[in-house]
Amino acid sequence: MNYQAMLAAILLIPLLGALLNGFLLRSAPRVVTVSVATLAIFIPFIFSCLLFFGPVNAGEVVRTDLFNWISVPFQGGHLDIPFALTVDRLSAILLLIITGVGSLIHLYAGEYMSHEEGVYRFFAYLNLFVFSMLSLVLGANMVVTFLGWEGVGVCSYLLIGYWYSDEANARAGMKAFIANRVGDLGFLLAMFMSVKLFGTVDYSKIAAALTNELAANNAPMITAIGLCLLLGVTGKSAQLPLYIWLPDAMAGPTPVSALIHAATMVTSGIYLMTRMSFLLVHSHTAMTTIAVIGACTALFAATIGLVQNDIKKVLAYSTVSQLGFMVLGCGVGAFQFGVAHLMTHAFFKALLFLGAGSVIHAMHHEQDIRKMGGLIKKMPITGWTFVIGTLAIIGFPGLSGFFSKDEILYNAWTGPFGHPLLWALGAGAAACTSFYMVRLTYLVFFGESRVEHAHGHHGHGHDHHHHHEIHENPLAMTLPLMILALLSIVGGYVSMPHAIMHTLGVHANENIITEWLSPVLASAKEVMSAGHGEEGHGSASLEWGLMGASTLVMLIMSGFALSLYKVGPKGGDSIANAVGGLYRLILDKWRIDELYQGVIIEPLKKVGDAFFKFGDRALIEGIINEGPRGIYLVTSVLSDVQSGLVRNYLKVVFIAMVALCAWILI
C-alpha cells in the first residue's frame, strides 16, 4: 500500500471538502453538505486507521514531501523547508483522535445545525479546521506545524464568530485569535532560535543535531526556546496567562466547542511539547516553568469552574483545568501521560460538550443550569452518557480519567521534574473538578425540573416551530454520544499505573502508552535519566497512596457537591454568602479579563492615540506644516525690504557691495 499517498490524502481530503462546500456546494441541499463534510473526515479516518495499525504500529515513520515550500540561501548553505508530512507514533494517536472524534462530531453537527441557514459555511470551516489540525500534527517541521497552528486559530476565529450578527460572538472570535497570536509569537521565536542554533526547523534534524554537548554549550538558548514554546502553548492550549479566550470561545456552536475547544485544537500545545520533548528536557528551568504553569492553571481554572452557571462555561473552565493537567504532565517529564490524558480528555470532554450541546439543542439554546434539572428522564441517553463523562473526568476509579489523571499526579510528585507541591496543586484542582462536575451534572439532569416554558427567541436563524416538549435527540446526535461514552470508559487503560498492572498481573515493563511512545520519547528519557539518576524515586506504595488519596478527595468532594445541591441551584448560596467578596471575585473569573483590559489593552489604546495625536499630528506634522508656514510668515515680513523705493534698492546694492569687499579683503 502506498502509505505516502495515503498520508497526503489524509491531509488533502478535508481541504477538498472545505473547498467543495465553500465554493461549489453553496446552494446544495443540507444533506449533501453534511455528507460531503463528514465523508471528508471519515475517509481520512479510515486511512489513519490503516496507517496506525500498519506501518506505525510496526515502528516505521512514514514521511512524504509534498513540495518544496520555502527555499532560501542561508549561511552559505540552504534553508529548505519542504511541505513535508510525517506520521510517527505520536502523530498517529492524534490523527486517530482528530479524524475519529472529528467524524463523530461532524455527524452530530449535521443534526445539531439542522435549523440553521447556509450551513455550507459552517461545514467548510469545520473541514478547513480539520485540515489545519492535521497539518499541525503531521508537519515534519515547525513551519508546517505552524501553518496548522495558525490555521486552526483562524478556523476557530471563524467558528466562534459563526453567528456573527451578534457582535459579542465576533468579538469572542477576535479575542481568541489575538490571544493565540501572542502565543504564536513565542512559537515564531522558537523557530528562529532553532534556525539560529541548528540551521533547520525539521524536527528530526533538530533532534539529530541536538547533542548533549550542544545543549550544554547553548543552555540559555535552549531555555529560551523552551520558554518561547511554552508561550505558544499557553496561547493555544489556554494556559495562564493566555487562557482568557477559551471561556469566551464558547460563543461558537457547541459541536465546535467539542471538537476545537475540547478535543483537538487546544491540545496541540501538548502535542508540540511532546514533539519537542527531546529539547525541552535539556532545560530544567523551562520544564519547571511548564510544570508550574500547568499546575497553577489546573487549580486556577478549576476554582472558577466551581461557581459558573452556564453549562458551557463550566465545561470551558474544566477544559482549561484539564489542559493544565496535561501541561503539568509534560512539565514534570511524563510526556506520555500528558498525551494519554489528552486522549482520554478528548473522549470524555467531547462527550460532555456534545451532551451539553444535546441539552442546549433540546432546550432551544438555553444554557443556564439554574433553568434546567431533571432532564435525565426526558433525555436518558444524553443524561447517562453525560454521567459517564462526568465520572470519567472526576477520575472515578476504573474510568479513563482515573488512569490518566492519576499517572500525571503520581509523576507530579515523583517525576524527573516533579515536586510534592505540584502534586498538591494538581490534587486541589482534581478536588475542585469533582465538585463542579458533580454540581453540574446534578443540576442539569437530576432533581426538580426548573425548565421555563416560555422561551425568548434565540435568533441565529433558528426556525420557530416550538417544541414545547423536551425530548431526546435523534440518533445522529446520540450515536456519537454513545461511542464517546464507551471510549471514555475504556480509553484510560492505555496508561494503567504500574501498581495496578502488577496487581492485575500484567507482565509488561511499561503500560501501553509508554511503550507506544517510547520511540518518540527515547532521547528525552535518556536525558532525563542522565540528569536525575534512576527514574522514579517513587515506589508502588507511594503510587497506591497517592491514588487512594485522590480517590478519597474525589469521593468527598462529589459527596459534598451532592449534599449541597440536592436542594437545587440555591444550595451553594450559604457558602457563597459566607465568603461574599471571594465568591463574587471567582464568579467574575477573578476579574482577569478586566485586569488585562485595564493593564494592557486600554494603555495600548492610549499609547496609539498618543502616537497619533502627539507623534504624528503634533510633532511630525507640526514640523512639516509649520515649517513652511514659518518660512511664509518670515518672508511676508522680509518682503517689506522690497519697498519699491529705488533709493533703498541702491542702498542694498551698496551695502552688499561694501560688505563683499570687506569680507574678501579683511
Binding site: I70, S71, Y164, E167, F177, L604
Partner: protein
Amino acid sequence: MVSMISQWILSLLIFFPLLGAVLIGLVKDNQTARHLAVAVSVLELIFSLHLVAHFNADSAAMQFAQDLAWLPRGTGIRYTVGVDGISLLLVMLTTVLCPLVFVSSYSSIESNVKSFLALFLILESAMIGALVSLDLVLFYVFWEAMLIPMYFIIGVWGGKDRIYATTKFFIYTVIGSLLMLVAFSYLYYLHYQQNGVFTTSIIELYKTAAGLPADTQLWLFTATAVAFAIKVPLFPFHTWLPDAHVQAPTPGSVILAGVLLKMGTYGLMRMSIPMFPEGAHRAAPVMLALSVIGIVYGALIAWRQTDIKKLVAYSSVSHLGFVVAGLFAFNELGYTGALYQMVNHGVSTGALFLLIGVVYERRHTREMSEYGGLAKQMPWYAFFFLVATMGSVALPGTGGFIGEWLILNGVFQTYPAMATVAGTGVILGAIYMLWLVLKVIWGPLKNEENKKLLDCSPREAFVLATLSIFVFLTGFLSAPLLAHTEPTMKRLQESVVNKAAYKTELVIHGRSQEPLKVMMDH
C-alpha cells in the same frame, strides 16, 4: 527571434504604455478608452511573461539588458536597462496589478476618464522604467517621472483635502530625491577621480562606491537612504502616506500601496545597500531601530483609526517597516523575505484598497462606524475581505507569512532583541486588522443604508478573486518564485558581508559584457 525579443523586451515594456497613453489621447469615447487601457495593460502583462519564461534563474546577472547611447558619450550617462532577481518580481507585480487597477477604475473614475487613463499608463511606464534602469540618471528620471502622474491622480481625482495631500506627497518625495541626486552626483565624480572616466552605470559604480572610505560611504548612504526611506515610508518620514492614501482615488491607492511604496525599498536594495556596504553596516542599527519603531508605531496608530483607509494606510507603515528591517538584517533570509514581502504587501494591501473602494463607491464614506454586518448583505465581499485580511496579517498559507517569517527570522539571526520587538507587530497587526473586520464585516447589520448594498459585481469579483488567488499562490509557490532571486540574493549577501563591491554584469541577448567595453565599442 527570441534573442531579438529578449534584447528589446525591456524597452518595449517601458515604452508600450506610453504609446498606449498617446493612443488614449486619440480616442474620443470614454468607454473605448477604458477598454483600450485594459487592452494595453493586458498586452503589457503578456509581454512581461517573456521575462519569466526566459529568465535564467541560475544567474545573478542583469538579464534582457540593453545598453544604448543616450546623453553625450563623455558624460557616461547611458540608456542601460536590465532585470535581475530583485527587479523581476517587482516588474511582474507591476504588470499584474495594472490591468486589475484599470478594470477596477471602470466604476471608480467617472470624470476626466481619458486623462486619468493616460496618466496611469504614463505612471506604469515610469514604474517599470525605474525598476529596470541600470543607470543612475535614467533611474532618477523615471523615479521623478513617477511622481508627476501620481501628483495629478491624487490631486485631480482625489477626495476633499486632495490638494494638501498631493502637495505634501510631492514635496516630501522631491526633497528626498534631490538629496539622492547630490549623492549620485558626488559618486559620479568620485568615480571619475579614481578611474578617469565618467559613468553613471550602476554596475560600474558598485565597484567604485564599495571602495570608498567608511565615512564617505556613510554620508552617501544616508543621503540615498533618506530619499528611499521617504518613499517607503519609514518612520518618521511616513506622514505623507496616510494623507495621500486617504485622498487618493481607489486605483491611485492601489498602485501607491502596491508598487510605488516598493520603489523605496527597491531603491534601498538596489542602490543604498550594495553600493555602500560599509555605510550600510554603520547605519544598520539606526535603520533597524527606525523600522522596528515604525512597525509598532504604525500598528498602534492604525488600530486607533476610524477611517478605514487611514487604518490600512498606517498598516502599510507597519508592514513596510518589516521590509526595511529585513533588508538591514544583512543575511539572505532578510533580503529574500523583504523582497517577497514587497510583492505580498502589494497584493494584499492592493486588495484591501480595492475592497474599500467597492464600499466607498456604494456608500461614499470610509467611516468604520457607518458599516458593520456587511457579511450578511455582501457574502462574497466578506469573503474577499477576509482573504485580504488574512494575507495582511501574514497567516501561514498566504505569501505574507513567508515574507514576514523570513524577515523576522533574518533579523533574529543578527538582532534577536529587535526581532522580538518587531514580532509584536505580528500581534498588533492581527489586532487592528481583525478590529477592522469586526467593525465592517461582522456584527449586526444596523445601518439602514447598508441593507440595500449590492454584493460585488462580476467585474469587482473578478479583480478581487484574482488578487485572492495570488494571496494564496504566493503562500505556497514561494520556492519556485524565490528560486529566481536566489543567485542575486547570494551575491548581495557576499557583497554586504565582505563589504566588497556588488558584482554583476549585463547579459545582452545571451552574451555577457562588461558595460565599459560596451561603451567603448559604441
